[in-house]
Symmetry: C2
């Protein structure tokens, strides 16, 4: 990759992504092959005054061995020190930067039931802490090129050329050209304008149709708003950008109000395995039937992770004619593909999409119809000829998307 | 490296090194560039029945940034979860495998006083747990080739050839040739025979002389024994090999009984920086004067880490004509260089060198003259013409080493 752009990217992740503050901790989660990016990130974090940067290195090959050989019992155990570490996260509220670079299909062959069962066992232990942290921490997910992922995106290139090409695609998608921070300031302004217009419409339902068979209605929450780009951490009011790149305008839909069928527009990499060419049929808000040409069992496992995993947690709008989609690339990584296509998410919704959400209790938020689940998995549905019609509170029909793109 | 030898090496580390047991945890500490070796180790550990393998990845470049940018205050803080993690080590007694591969001079330029002060601050917090674990856990230190270390050992080779050459040297030194386990069984038998002979002499003092100026007397403890090769974990009685390679016969000397001067035979890499061509003068058992052509300040810092860092904690005997020394290589890494040269260690002594040590209290052990310190740093003194004379309890003089090699 171009070293100057890598530095500019690291600066973007630190200053605009997590926006780590003087005296604050930063946790960085990265794969062991990302030393060049991580060292630049660590340098920037210290330069802006971070108190301590904790780098937690992961290795997909080793993780695969754990899932293969460990018993369900040991995979389901949370040690006391791990709970204490989580408590530290609640108290210190470190900023968190997750750098994704794994092979999208690198966990192929691993028993997904075992992973699912172990996650189900450990989630309740961590849930009270996750609830306490929600909306309060600055976090950011961003990508980094790696040889296995790059070969998936560019199968016909040599390994080194593929890695370069994926870096280029990451930099382009992330508006990194030596002026990343200025670019993101403008970009965030544009996203805010779109949100303001959509919110002025007071929509109560979205109706999706496409020639691929998609025909779905999704109900919205009266006092939920559409958001996009940067967000504000609760309590500290620190502005951060949770996804780099991010092209989406999204909101949290109303639990129980989804009817019809929707077809995938791109493959989905879930826990290191691919699900391709799939459909999801909803009744009374819940996924009641899923079909997939590849990974159907995995998809079924996913929607039954807990009782609420089959309900929607996000509705996001992105023009088909988007910068990332225009690269013509399929990234096999949700961070990029979700920002190139209208998508939905199954699982947990976003309480911070509710206007003045901080004034409500968790119970009041739940009652408004925001889904709570241990999963939150985006899947891409934005086809070339997708139409989305919004129904306002007064019953008016407004064309939101036409032929895959914004209608206004 | 040759893949078959790497597998044989991993098997050796797991079965003979830490000898991890069915149902036991294993902690592996390795640098982020050691994925091939670590994955083989993890596989072997699970195959022999390890319950859980925890791999903790390190990165010297990132560590350097921490020491450069973090304040002494944050470097001196131990979080509650880190204490809890240490408690888990006390309770679960995981086997521990440390794979060394860092650049021996990779921390050059880092403020050693800052490192030393932060270690002094955190050590007392961890000390009670370290005392509880002592002699009970199975542990092993072994090496792995990396580009920066390899270029230090083989400066005239290309990077890839240097890495190969260092792997070859590691495999040769570690007796890895496809039959590593059988080789180590024989090797341990040979070391035991040497120990038995030395222990039959009932030595109370060793006198070192060499043409390089070394002239040193070191007093021994009456009921301390010489050990070498494998050891037995206290409580579990599991046999393990703490160093791979290991050629040394060693014991713990008597605190307060060291007089004279000793000259280094090889450079010493201490906390990622090199100390070269140095001497240490002892009075009443304590290092009172040190001189070094390179790294003198670092050496001074080292012997003043705490009040007892200037006392000896180990006396080790290795023939000059040893397999590792015969490679003609200088490894700049203590694990290899100490096994190619008679050496001493400054700092903590070994309570398990006392006969039936488990029957004594910590206070009784201390009273016998075993040094306790936060450091334990080996340094190499074995010259080509070194003479070592042992004085028995009856006052007899016995030639132990002559012209650098065993005299018997």
């Amino acid at each position: 990759m171009k070293k100057a752009l890598l530095k500019n990217y690291a600066e973007l992740l630190v200053k605009m992504g997590v926006n780590v503050q003087k005296g604050q901790e930063l946790n960085v989660y990265a794969s062991i092959d990302q030393v060049p990016l991580v060292t630049e990130v660590v340098k920037w974090a210290y330069k802006v005054g971070a108190k301590k940067v904790n780098v937690e290195w992961g290795c997909q090959e080793v993780s695969k061995l754990h899932y293969k050989y460990r018993t369900l019992e040991t995979l389901s155990t949370v040690e006391n020190w791990e709970v204490e570490k989580m408590k530290h996260r609640v108290e210190a509220l470190p900023a968190r930067l997750l750098i994704v670079s794994d092979d999208p299909d690198g966990m192929k062959g691993v028993d997904q039931k075992k992973i699912a069962m172990s996650r189900r066992a450990t989630y309740p232990i961590m849930k009270p802490f996750i609830d306490q942290i929600e909306n309060k921490e600055q976090w950011c997910i961003a990508g980094a090129s790696s040889s296995k992922w790059a070969k998936k995106v560019f199968p016909h290139l040599s390994k080194s050329k593929a890695v370069e090409a994926l870096w280029d695609a990451i930099f382009t998608s992330s508006r990194v050209d030596g002026h990343a921070i200025e670019n993101w300031e403008k970009h965030n302004d544009n996203l805010t304008k779109k949100c303001d217009y959509l919110n002025s419409l007071k929509l109560k339902e979205l109706r999706y149709t496409s020639s691929n068979g998609t025909n779905l209605k999704v109900g919205l929450i009266e006092n939920a708003v559409f958001m996009g780009g940067n967000e504000k951490a609760l309590g500290s009011n620190i502005i951060f950008n949770p996804n780099i790149p991010s092209e989406e305008i999204f909101t949290t839909p109303k639990k129980g109000l989804a009817e019809g069928i929707v077809y995938s527009a791109k493959p989905l990499s879930y826990q290191g395995q691919l699900i391709e060419n799939f459909s999801v049929r909803f009744e009374n808000g819940k996924a009641v039937e899923v079909k997939a040409e590849k990974g159907e069992e995995l998809l079924k496992e996913m929607i039954s992770m807990d009782e609420t995993a089959g309900y929607l947690g996000e509705v996001a709008l992105i023009a088909y004619d988007s910068p990332i989609n225009n690269t013509g690339l399929l990234f096999f990584e949700t961070l990029y593909d979700e920002n190139a296509s209208c998508h939905l998410a199954l699982g947990r919704g976003f309480s911070n999409c509710i206007k003045d959400y901080e004034k409500y209790t968790k119970e009041e938020i739940d009652e408004m119809g925001i889904n709570d689940s241990m999963i939150h998995v985006d899947f891409m549905i934005g086809s070339k000829d997708m139409s989305i019609v919004g129904i306002t509170s007064s019953g008016e029909e407004i064309q939101i998307f036409k032929d895959g793109n914004w209608a206004f």
